[in-house]
Symmetry: C2
Subunit: 305 residues, 2 copies
Amino acid sequence: MSKKMNQFDVVGLGQCSLDIIGRIDDYPEIDTKTELNETLIQGGGPVATALVTLARLGVSTAFVGKIGDDSFGPRIRSGLISEGVDCEGLVTEVGARSQFAFVAVDQDGHRNIFWKRGSYRPLVKSEIDPKMIVSSRILHLDGLQVEISVLAAKLARKHKITTVLDGGTLRPSMLELMRYIDHAIVSEKFAWQLVGDEGPKVALEKLLEYGCAAATVTLGVKGSWTLTAAGEFFHQPIYAVNVVDTTGCGDVFHGGYIYGLLRQWPVKAAVRFATACAAIKTRKLGGRTAIPTLKEVEAFLHRGD
Amino acid sequence: MSKKMNQFDVVGLGQCSLDIIGRIDDYPEIDTKTELNETLIQGGGPVATALVTLARLGVSTAFVGKIGDDSFGPRIRSGLISEGVDCEGLVTEVGARSQFAFVAVDQDGHRNIFWKRGSYRPLVKSEIDPKMIVSSRILHLDGLQVEISVLAAKLARKHKITTVLDGGTLRPSMLELMRYIDHAIVSEKFAWQLVGDEGPKVALEKLLEYGCAAATVTLGVKGSWTLTAAGEFFHQPIYAVNVVDTTGCGDVFHGGYIYGLLRQWPVKAAVRFATACAAIKTRKLGGRTAIPTLKEVEAFLHRGD
């Protein structure tokens, strides 16, 4: 994972957010007033938190995205810079509101996310640096801004840069993006939007039709299912830990999976490592608080050896 | 409602908050992710919003309370000052976090409030100006900081200043405060905590035992019940309007009720006016957006004449 000046192992293009996280006893009924037991304000967003995960694991990363010039923007930026994620490609739009989320986390670690995308215009070609993408090893996308994501993924494909997609919600034209994706990791909701009740295997087969090398669907406590182009199909259960907060679990899973790709591990090993990263993450409040270092993941995976 | 220099008709001592309000279609199930249709960041808090109501109605008001020196504090302060509420008594505590709330409002106007009190120390005697209280006509309290509220209410009682309580949650030692309250307006929850399932009349009788002139319990769409020391007991139904957001309805009701007290109206007229203020308020998103001017309330009450 060597790095030349201005080159990064992983470039992520997508969402960054300011998350206000509040701990509650139980998720409240409608039309009630609930005092939070504890609050935490922290950066979030699928791609941004995946990059923070990679940074903690020792990988050089750069984020490409947008913030507004409101009071949330600088906190989003400093939350990435303090983790060592390069933010040269993070554009501030004057007069725009940054993405934010309020996350209510109950005592069992279930979380409800209420979020609002930023009011800025979508990133355009002139706002991104193609050199940064073509000099990287992996491009990570979440597809919220589909147009620029397709453009970046096409560029990556042309230069044989591996592309990874975090598919949370199946948005219009996301399937166009899928044509340029090497590794797709999608949510249960995304899989359901794709194939309805036909189950994970059918969803994964459908994703592989777009030409990716491997596809995974994450199912929360039910673990994940993965299908590779070589025909390998497997289930990875979650690791049992004392769950405090599942916020950002998917984002951290992506970071861990990408780490495995950089190390050129078999997909199964990458998924196992990603699952461990996500499990460790759940032990503290906040999407990023308990994201592990490499040593911590290794120690976790070798417990009981 | 004349006013000398540094004198205010109504002084409020209590909570002020920064509210992040998000509109949703339906209140979501547990463990889901919901994108907000619209967001609004606005000042809130029971006493603070009651004072904004009075200010819009043309009354001179001053707020006494606390904020932190975080990014939310200045927005809370400017939200009051821009309405003409005096903030000389609003103390900023260095290193503290301001009170905030996230409010999810569904398409029927139901709201779920998730809030966290500020991390500042409670207001103490040396932080408040007794002259401001004794030169006012009405002191409005919400009793979250019970110790200083009791002190202020005692002082007001000594100087024959009318005291009004917004009772949201029946907290320990709030009944001590009740001994110095002239008008108590409490929530359904407060009444239930006081007398269980015995109903509004028993709750109001219990409140009157503490010596107040009138007590009201507000019941949302079920309107309100009031009992006066003179034995008058009545129900006030709500006014039918197209409800967008019920956030802050109770706070605005208090402002309207206090307006009636200043005008020396009979309690029944004050409750009717308060109910109209609260109804008008619900027509736009946010606890304060649609708070009416006096002309608007008068026009509303004379519709169909």
